[in-house]
Amino acid sequence: MSPSPVGPYLPLAVTLLVSGLMAAALPVLAHFLGPRRASKVKSESFECGSVSEGSARQRFAVKFYVVALLFIVFDIETVFLYPWAVNFKALGWFGYAEVAAFAATLLVGLAYVWKKGALEWET
């Protein structure tokens, strides 16, 4: 039996464990150690400066959604570039042509949303 391919995850697991413990321990410690004296001023969002108005739960404008959504699509494009990058030499011009066709298609999409004004914040 070969050594398990899961071994390299050990440092990651340790990091996660430590950070998880920290995240759990700190609020608990703060709860027991910290003094708590609530007052009206303290419960406001900003203790100094102008008084905050309205609910914190304001609706986002849809234009932000369109940007977030385009982020996802281009995120997927990037994800497809990683496996190409590690095989770049072996794939040569063949792979280059494949990725060029892929990227060209998405470039049409980028040109479309850009000119459409879907990326503009101030509209």
Binding site: N87, A90, L91, G92, F94, T105, V108, A111, Y112, K115
Partner: protein
């Protein structure tokens, strides 16, 4: 790593999809870069691309079947003909859309681009021979259709219809995918051609697992083709979507989904033809009977056509069931289909399915076309926009439309001398030949019941007086062009099906049947 050597021969089968995708890109770019007042060029670009893509597909339709892209896809006459049918339907739908959108001041490049994307997905779906490729192409067409359904934003209906369509589409995609994953586990491959052998073994060693996997894949497709009992989304979605988009769903999406269904089950069905044939037959009976019965009480013509589309899926399923030999008739022993050698009667079944798809495409595009010119912009999205009374006395006000609509209704009802009759004849004959006599009888009875609601429209058009204060519907040249073309096709193919049926006989050269 060995690089695949791609030649022009590999690219040729995807040429129709490339043409459609290129047309869509041009539309998108012209939408944002050309800011002219007139927007009629958009429909022309879309029409041009669909005709060109259909022509390219037709030119390759007679090449012998072969695998391309290392077995992920196949090119055979079947896939080419499905692409031709899809492009034909698309061209008709584009013509309907031109007037429909102009009337609503909603002419947008995106609309046509999404239609072309959907058609590209359909064309690729028809040739996919590997489960993941098939899944992705199915999604290309689904995602485009979801967006098209919500394209018009007047009133709550389109958004709701799009949402229903989306959720059930995503659900059925998940069923299909889970079934594919299990099939991959059982057989160790996702390529349909390589699955047959291992799956046949698995049907004996792990019958439960293999059957569940097949059932999940079948359920995924049953949702897409709106087979009873997976049909509940169809009436609402068909009614809520813009009428030309509904036409695309009933013509293109249905044809492509059936192409995928035939492709998958023709391979996988060989693992256990009896079980698959039984399941398809059961689905066919439920869908034929259920679709027709549900359509009977509908006064809303758009909703009635939605149920009618379900019923037609039933007849097509009967054709698919006829691809398999049936137990208890002795055919099973005589047909060496199980061994993958030449299938005696399946060529007739392919011909039936393809001819039926063609017949249904031209008839339903025409019927939805008449519906789209009768519904007025002012109607908003009230249910009365498609009420049967709209058709009262149409023969006096617009005799041309009434005659065309009568032809489409006769064709959908399967009454000669229309293409719908020929389609039903071919499908039912193939069913009888493969031992499905009982099912064919049920099909004939169901379509006889269905004739009632189709002929009711004809009665309304020709025998009811026109409403006194009725507004004369406007004339639309593009839609009328589509109506004339499809009416001529309905009658011509019904009277002289010879040439096309001969072409379709060639589609017996289905990849994998050898």
């Amino acid at each position: 790593m060995t690089l695949p050597d791609l030649t022009a021969a590999d690219l040729q089968p995807v040429l129709p999809a490339l043409v459609l995708a290129a047309g869509a890109s041009v539309l998108l770019l012209s939408e944002v870069f050309l800011t002219t007042a007139s927007r009629s060029h958009l429909a022309l670009i879309a029409l041009g691309s669909s005709v060109l893509a259909g022509g390219v597909a037709l030119a390759t339709a007679f090449e012998p079947a072969h695998a391309v892209f290392q077995g992920l896809a196949v090119q055979d006459p079947f896939s080419s003909f499905v692409t031709v049918v899809v492009c034909l339907g698309l061209a008709g739908v584009v013509l309907l859309s031109a007037d429909f959108l102009k009337q609503r001041q909603a002419e947008r490049g995106e609309y046509y681009a999404l239609m072309l994307f959907a058609a590209a997905g359909m064309s690729l779906l028809a040739m996919s021979a590997e489960l993941i490729t098939l899944f992705i192409n199915l999604e290309v067409l689904s995602v485009s259709t979801y967006a098209l359904t919500a394209f018009l934003r007047r009133g709550p209906r389109p958004a709701e219809a799009a949402f229903k369509y989306f959720i059930l589409g995503a659900f059925s995609a998940a069923l299909f995918l889970y079934g594919s994953a299990l099939l991959y586990g059982v057989t160790g491959t996702t390529r349909l051609a390589d699955m047959v052998g291992p799956l046949r073994t698995a049907m004996h060693t792990q019958p439960w697992l293999a059957t569940c996997a097949l059932a999940l894949v079948a359920a995924g497709f049953a949702f897409k083709v709106a087979a009873v009992p997976f049909h509940m989304w169809a009436p609402d979605v068909y009614e809520g979507a813009p009428t030309p988009v509904t036409a695309l769903m009933s013509a293109g999406v249905k044809a492509a989904a059936f192409a995928g269904l035939v492709r998958v089950f023709l391979f996988l069905g060989r693992a256990d033809p009896e079980v698959v044939a039984l399941a398809l037959s059961a689905l066919a009976v439920l869908t034929m009977v259920g679709g027709n019965l549900l359509a009977l009480p509908q006064r809303n013509v758009k909703r009635m056509l939605a149920y009618s589309s379900i019923a037609h899926a039933g007849y097509l399923l009967l054709g698919v069931a006829a691809l398999f030999p049936h137990p208890g008739t002795g055919v099973l022993a005589a047909t060496p289909l199980m061994l993958g050698s030449p299938a005696v009667n399946s060529a007739d079944a392919y011909k039936g399915i393809l001819f039926y798809l063609l017949a249904y495409t031209v008839s339903s595009v025409g019927a939805f076309g008449v519906l789209s010119v009768l519904e007025r912009h002012a109607d908003g999205d009230g249910a009365t926009a498609w009420d049967l009374d709209r058709f009262s006395g149409l023969a006096q006000r617009r005799p041309g439309w009434a005659v065309a609509m009568a032809a489409f209704m006769l064709s959908l009802a399967g009454i000669p001398p229309t293409v719908g009759f020929m389609g039903k004849l071919l499908v039912f004959r193939a069913a009888v030949d493969s031992g499905l006599l009982g099912l064919a009888i049920i099909g004939v009875l169901a379509s006889a019941a269905g004739a009632y609601y189709y002929l009711r429209i004809v009665v309304y058009m020709f025998m009811r007086p026109a409403p006194a204060e009725g507004v004369l519907p406007e004339k639309y040249w593009a839609t009328e062009l589509a109506l004339v073309a499809s009416a001529v096709a309905v009658v011509a193919l019904g009277v002289l099906p010879g040439r096309v049926a001969d072409w379709l006989s060639q589609s017996g050269m289905f990849f994998g049947t050898r």
